[in-house]
Subunit: 125 residues, 2 copies
DNA sequence: CATGCAGTACGATCGAAGTCGTACATAGGA
DNA sequence: TCCTATGTACGACTTCGATCGTACTGCATG
């Protein structure tokens, strides 16, 4: 059956492996603030990051380099940190790498519909 | 009858009087950019403005002073301009006064669900 | 142990935006 | 016509964020 256009896909929360490193510091669900989240998403590069994570994540989470941005590494660190501190993404340290994924359940619980807007976004129209 | 919680209220687009002044310069519907709109909404004072317009607008639109903010007038002008230039509100000049209202239809068309998030927002939790 | 690699930390620079004081414009009323 | 009230325009100050170079950390591999 075709996807009903009215039923917004909540994006699946990927099952987490059992032996994960602790997440880096992040706001709790009830500490998420709409104005902060919107501020984190008011940047084209960060919208691209979140949208790509929502639509193209086959694996559980992804390293900074997986996105293939042509930017200095320190710039990317800055944006990934902004997303995490706003509560949009969760980051875990896997040895050398710091991997990110979207906090789908938390965001859907607090701001239903928001991730659908991000997924529908297109850069530069 | 009580409002159904599942049916998201699209907020009514208030009927416009027939003899309105021209709106001040604003982006067209198809020029609305998600990152710009989110940036305009990533400020507590501006969220308060939009939310108040959505929930408490009995009249068609409202003057800058109707909100009762305790801020310098020039600061308010700045924020109302930011909302209009992002496409969130429309402003019309009525003689001395510049009145604002939310572009409900345009925003619902381009970013469905966004206004519901703003209406559900509460300052400072 | 030396090298390479992934990514962070720090700090400098630059521009955009928030804040606000002051001056200005206009309509309405005494 | 003068005064007042509403609100804008402009400019100064300050803060914040984006960008990026450079140095550093830690693992993995030879």
């Amino acid at each position: 059956m075709p996807a009903s256009p009215a039923a917004a896909p909540p994006f699946k929360a990927l099952p987490e492996p059992s032996d994960l490193p602790q997440p880096l510091p992040e706001p709790a669900v009830d500490e998420l603030r709409l104005e902060t989240v919107l501020g984190a998403l008011s940047d084209p590069l960060r919208l691209t990051i979140v949208r790509k994570l929502l639509l193209e994540s086959e694996n559980f989470d992804h390293t900074c380099g997986w996105f293939g941005f042509d930017r200095p590494k320190s710039s990317l660190t800055h944006h990934f940190k902004a997303l995490r501190e706003a509560g949009v993404t969760r980051q875990r340290q896997y040895g050398l790498e710091r991997r990110s994924h979207v906090r789908v359940d938390d965001l859907n619980a607090r701001f239903p519909g928001l991730l659908e807007l991000v997924a529908a976004w297109t850069p530069e129209d």
